[in-house]
Amino acid sequence: MAETLIAPTPVNAVSTASSLIEIENVSLYYGATKALKNISVKLEEKLVTAFIGPSGCGKSTLLRCLNRMNDLIDNVRIEGSMKIGGHDIYAADVDVIELRKRVGMVFQKSNPFPKSIYENVAYGLRLHGVKAKSELDARIEESLRNSALWEEVKDRLHSSALGLSGGQQQRLCIARAIAIKPEIILMDEPASALDPIATARVEDLILDLKKEFTIVIVTHNMQQAARISDQTAFFYLGELIEFGATGKIFTNPAQKRTEDYVSGRFG
C-alpha cells in the first residue's frame, strides 16, 4: 500500500505558495466503513480539476466534503485537515453558511426550485442580503449571461423554471450558483443526465467559467475530463491513486490502475 503519489504538476500554476484547496490526510467514515482513505491533494486557483474513478470510489464524497454537504448525513466522521484559502473548514468556529456561499455546488440531477427562472437566481442573492430590485435585476442578468442562458430565457424570466429543458435547467442551476459569486464551484457529474448537445454547452460554459472560478468536477465521462480539466485525480476504492496534469494522466499515467481505467479496461 506504500505507493507514493505522483507530485502534482499543475499546468499553469506556480506550486510554491499555499494552494487554494489543501486536503491533507483526510479520511472519512460512514459509521464503521472507511469511505475515504488518507487523501492528500492540493488544488490550485482558477483551474478545473476533474475527479474520476469508478462508482463508489469516494470522489463525490470528497467533493461534498469541500462545502460540508456531508454534515447532513448521520454517522459521518472526518479525520485529517481540509483547508480553503489557508483556513481549516472543519474548525469549530467555521460558519458553514459563509463557507457554502464561497464554495458553490451544482448537482448531478438538475434541481431548480419550482419557482420562476428569476426567483431561482434571486433565491441565493436574497439569502445573502441583496434586496434592491435594481441590484437583483442586474445580478440575475449577469449570472444568466455568464451561464449562457440569457438569450434563451430573457423573455420569460417570470415563467416556471420547470418548463426549461434538462440542459437549460442545469445551466440555470449553474447561474444560481455563480450569482452569489463563490470562489470555488463544485460540480457533481453536472452533465451525466444531459444529451450530447446540452453536454457540449455545459462543457463550453465550464471552460468559460474557469476564468473567474476554481472548478472541481466529478465525472464518469473520460472524454469530458480530458476535454475540460487541467488536472485530474483518479480515485479507486476510497484511495487517491494518482493526481496530476490531465494530459499526463490520460496519456502517460504512472500507475497501472490509472492506465487501465482511463483506457477503459475496467470501471
Binding site: E98, R100, M105
Partner: protein, 329 residues
C-alpha cells in the same frame, strides 16, 4: 421425397406441436379471471349502492323539512316540534368547534411532522417512540378522547386556570367550546401529522440540498422551499381532519356540548349545541317520534351538507394553491 412433415421435424411431444401451430387463440374460457373481475366489480357496486341508499334516504326524507326558517332559527327549549324548531345554534356550534380545532391541530401537527422528517434522526429511539405514539393515537376510541379531554383539559388545565386567574366561579374549569375543540384536535393530530409527513417526504431531497448549498440555513430551507411545496399535502391532512371531526360526538360529550342553549356560543368558554349530538337527542329523547322524524332527517341532511361545504371550501383553496405552485412559486 425430401420434405419432412411436422411430426418428423418437431419433437415428439404433441402438445408442443399444437402450441406452435395454434395461432394465439384462447383455448378455453378463463373462469377465474372472469370470476374475480366480476367479484371486484360487484363489491364496488355494493359500496356505491350503500352510499346511494343512505344519501337518497336522507335527501328524500329530509329535504321537505329544510327551510330558511329551519336553518336560521334558534329553537325554544322544546325543539321537537317540527313547526317551530331550528338548527342555527347547532350549525354555528359545529362549525365553530371544527374551525377552532383546525386552528390548533394544523400548526401542532405540521410542526411535529417537520420535526420528525426534517430534524429528528430517523433511527433514534425517540423518533421511533414518537412515531409509535402517533400511530397508537390514531387507534384510540373516540370516547376515550372524550374522557381524556374531561380529565386533562377541564379538570386539570381549566381548573388551574381558574385558580390562577382567581375566578370565584368556574369559567374555564367546565365543559366549553375550547376544550371540545382541543379534544378533537388531539384526536385528529395523527391524521395531520401523517399527511404532512407524506407530503414532506415527497419533496425531492435535491431541492433541500440545492437550497443548503446556496448558503441557506435549515430553517430558511424549510420555510422558503420545503413548506410551500408541502402546502397542498398539509391541506389534505386538514381536510381529512375536518371530515373526521365534524361528525364526531363522543369526544365532545363530556367536554363542551350542551343539550340546550338559548343563545349562540359567543366565547371560547361557552358551551355549545352540536348537530351530531342534536341528532342523538332527537332520535332518543323525543316524546313524539312521528312528529320528530322529519326534523331528524333534516338535521342529518344539514350535518352532511355542512361537512361537504367545509370540505369543498378546503378543496377549492387547495386547488388554487396547487395551480399557483405549478405555474410559479
Amino acid at each position: 421425397m425430401n420434405t419432412l412433415t411436422p411430426s418428423e421435424y418437431l419433437p415428439e411431444n404433441t402438445s408442443d406441436t399444437t402450441r406452435l401451430t395454434r395461432n394465439f387463440r384462447a383455448e378455453k374460457f378463463d373462469f377465474w379471471s372472469f370470476f374475480f373481475s366480476g367479484l371486484t366489480g360487484l363489491a364496488t357496486l355494493f359500496i356505491l349502492g350503500i352510499l346511494a341508499t343512505i344519501l337518497l334516504n336522507i335527501i328524500v326524507n329530509g329535504w321537505g323539512a329544510i327551510s330558511w326558517h329551519f336553518v336560521s332559527t334558534i329553537p325554544k327549549k322544546d325543539f321537537f316540534d317540527a313547526n317551530t324548531t331550528g338548527v342555527l345554534p347547532m350549525i354555528v356550534g359545529t362549525s365553530f368547534r371544527v374551525i377552532v380545532m383546525t386552528i390548533f391541530v394544523i400548526p401542532v401537527g405540521v410542526i411535529t411532522a417537520i420535526y420528525l422528517t426534517e430534524y429528528a434522526s430517523h433511527t433514534s429511539i425517540l423518533t421511533r417512540i414518537i412515531r409509535a405514539a402517533v400511530n397508537n393515537l390514531a387507534g384510540v376510541p373516540s370516547i376515550v378522547f372524550g374522557l381524556f379531554g374531561l380529565g386533562f383539559f377541564i379538570n386539570f388545565i381549566g381548573k388551574n386556570m381558574d385558580d390562577l386567574l382567581h375566578h370565584p366561579n368556574a369559567v374555564w374549569g367546565q365543559p366549553a367550546l375550547i376544550w371540545a375543540s382541543l379534544t378533537l384536535a388531539v384526536m385528529t393530530l395523527p391524521v395531520v401529522i401523517v399527511a404532512t409527513e407524506e407530503s414532506l417526504k415527497a419533496i425531492p431531497p435535491g431541492l433541500r440540498e440545492a437550497s443548503l448549498a446556496l448558503g441557506a440555513t435549515k430553517l430558511e430551507t424549510i420555510l422558503k422551499i420545503v413548506l410551500p411545496q408541502a402546502l397542498p399535502g398539509i391541506m389534505t391532512g386538514g381536510i381529512l381532519a375536518v371530515s373526521r371531526a365534524a361528525g364526531e360526538v363522543a369526544p365532545i360529550l363530556f367536554t363542551g356540548v350542551a343539550y340546550y342553549m338559548a343563545s349562540l356560543p359567543a366565547h371560547l368558554s361557552d358551551q355549545f349545541m352540536d348537530l351530531g349530538y342534536h341528532i342523538f337527542v332527537l332520535s332518543t329523547q323525543s316524546p313524539n317520534i312521528e312528529q320528530t322524524r322529519p326534523i331528524l332527517y333534516a338535521t342529518v341532511l344539514v350535518l352532511l351538507m355542512l361537512t361537504f361545504a367545509l370540505n369543498i371550501v378546503a378543496i377549492l383553496i387547495r386547488a388554487r394553491v396547487r395551480k399557483k405552485l405549478r405555474a410559479l412559486g
